[in-house]
């Protein structure tokens, strides 16, 4: 699991709606009828998340490939 240190660049963002700093927190993502939990930067107030590019192109892409039906 990536730690907050890994997402330092993303954590420097602020939530545009709430003007609060993003914090690492557990979120649930769903893809092809499967739910996964992972930690990613999110706004504590409104719950919006920022999907780091490294996560989208890394682990998330890997999960998509595994779930890709033959």
């Amino acid at each position: 699991m990536k730690t907050t240190e890994d997402w330092s660049e993303e954590l420097s963002w602020r939530c545009a709606a709430c003007d609060r700093p993003l914090e690492m927190g557990q979120v649930t993502v769903t893809y092809m009828e499967n739910s996964f939990t992972t930690d990613m930067p999110r706004c504590r107030q409104c719950g919006q998340v920022l999907v780091p590019e490294g996560l989208a192109l890394g682990k998330m892409a890997e999960v998509e490939k595994i779930l890709e039906d033959k």
């Binding site: 699991m1 649930t28 993502v29 769903t30 092809m32 009828e33 499967n34 739910s35 996964f36 939990t37 992972t38 682990k59 998330m60 890997e62 999960v63 490939k65 595994i66 779930l67 890709e68 039906d69 033959k70």
Partner: protein
């Protein structure tokens, strides 16, 4: 009663004739009439999920290289002609015609004698396949390929030609008897063994194979586990002979996990050497098999898990993928049923790409270390919930999922081959399992093996 038009062959004279899929209640029949030899009817689908909702639409892809133009039209123009709608996913190379079993049931009608192509000929085949079927998975078959002492060298030839996934289709005799043989195949670059495996006691082997083989099969799996070769158990299912053993076969497969990567059921087809013209009671259709799997596995594997294929014609197969929990219980990767749903068409070549990747990933040994057959229960730290519904309490940690997907995936699948009685040319034109004939032509598996009622072959020499 509704009908769907297609084409087939006369079982007697092999003339191409019109045919219909005919619905009668929950059953679907292939019906055809030859002006010279009369009417033929064969059951092709029985029960739920309904055939009408069992679809996976594809946009036709021409083979990478059509081998020639159409002359007499399908099915008389193979190698692949411009009418063919799918590229090769798996190419079967028969590296010998000899076999040390001589089973009463054999699509290749193999026996103790026959020719072996030279290594130079096999090297030429691989070179040709690099043009016609780039990136395809390869299955070395026969006859019994392990009768060739140079089989590891043939595997090396394939790997050097750029084919990453090479599987050995075998009865397991040599793997069981010769210490170090499985390791020699592994060292040469083989990824997987497609193991003839019809049941878990000797009665079924005596009926289908002519002799007791249960101990041999267990020893073959153990040898592959030790060598780190992935194993796919391949039961030929005959109603009244071993259709009651479906659950026991799945149980054995799970007990041998992770060495055994999955089970690939094949309802018996009536071509090559077989007991004679079948009645409908000697047929096992795909829905009947799905129900047998669910009933005999106490619902661990359910009908609703099974999906039509994205590569070959939808009516030719089903499959389901699972993650095994730490207690060995299968959790479906795709928990919602696909049958009956509206599915967007995909390009046939994209379906083939996915199937090639999937087979190479699932049917080889897992990447993480030993495949010693320790059974599915494990001390692994990943937590895989046993339920598959999508409520948050059944969520999986992304990292646990990725770790489990490396080492704890399991697959249950089946393929319904076609013989001269139930042949449907629409299905054949979507075929992705091709045999490389000795002269270099690619021929859909069912057509290559098809024989008329009197045993005359359409293509096999």
């Amino acid at each position: 009663m509704s009908q769907y038009p297609t084409q087939s062959l006369c079982p007697i004279c092999l003339a191409r004739i019109p045919a219909q899929r005919v619905w009668r209640g929950q059953e679907v029949f292939l019906e055809k009439h030859c002006a010279a030899h009369g009417f033929f009817q064969t059951v092709i689908w029985k029960g739920a999920p309904a055939m009408a909702g069992w679809h996976r639409p594809k946009l036709s892809s021409r083979p990478a290289e059509a081998e020639h133009g159409a002359k007499q039209d399908c099915p008389f123009d193979c190698g692949l002609c411009p009418k063919h709608a799918q590229r090769s996913c798996t190419v079967i190379l028969e590296v010998t015609q000899r076999c040390d079993l001589g089973c009463p049931v054999c699509y290749a009608a193999s026996g103790p004698k026959g020719d072996d192509p030279s290594p130079a000929v096999v090297a030429g085949w691989f070179e040709r396949l690099g043009q016609t079927s780039p990136g395809a998975n390869i299955q070395l078959s026969g006859g019994e390929p392990t009768l060739r002492d140079d089989l590891p060298a043939l595997v090396e030839l394939g790997r050097r030609a750029g084919f990453e996934f090479i599987q050995i289709n075998t009865n397991g005799l040599r793997l069981a008897r010769e210490p170090g043989y499985a390791q020699a195949l592994k060292n040469a670059g083989a990824a997987s063994v497609f193991l003839q495996f019809d049941g878990v006691n000797d009665d079924v082997y005596r009926w289908l194979r002519g002799r007791a083989l249960w101990e041999i099969k267990q020893a073959a799996v153990a040898a592959c586990a030790l060598a780190g070769l992935g194993v796919v158990l391949v039961p030929t299912l005959v109603p009244g002979v071993n259709t009651h053993a479906v659950g026991a076969i799945l149980e054995a497969a799970l007990a041998w996990y992770p060495a055994v990567r999955g089970v690939h059921f094949q309802p018996m087809s009536y071509f090559g050497r077989h007991p004679g013209r079948p009645t409908d009671s000697r047929r096992l259709t795909l829905p009947e098999l799905m129900h047998a799997i669910e009933t005999q596995s106490d619902g661990w594997f359910k009908v609703e898990h099974f999906r039509p294929p994205g590569c070959e014609h939808a009516l030719c197969s089903f499959h389901a993928q699972y993650l095994l929990s730490e207690h060995g219980r299968p959790r479906p990767l795709h928990p919602l049923p696909m049958a009956g749903q509206s599915v967007a068409p995909i390009k046939a070549e994209e379906g083939a790409r996915r199937a090639i990747d999937f087979v190479a990933r699932q049917w080889a040994a897992p990447l993480s270390g030993s495949t010693a057959a320790s059974g599915p229960s494990c001390a692994c730290k990943e937590k895989i919930p046993e339920s598959s519904n999508t409520s948050p309490k059944n969520s999986i940690s992304l990292d646990d999922f990725l770790a489990a997907a490396q080492s704890r995936t399991f697959c249950v699948s089946a393929m319904a081959f076609q013989d001269v009685w139930n042949l449907d040319l629409e299905r054949v034109q979507g075929c992705c399992i091709h045999v490389l004939a000795g002269d270099g032509r690619l021929i859909p598996f069912c057509l290559y093996n098809l024989t008329a009622a009197d045993g005359r072959a359409l293509y096999r020499p």
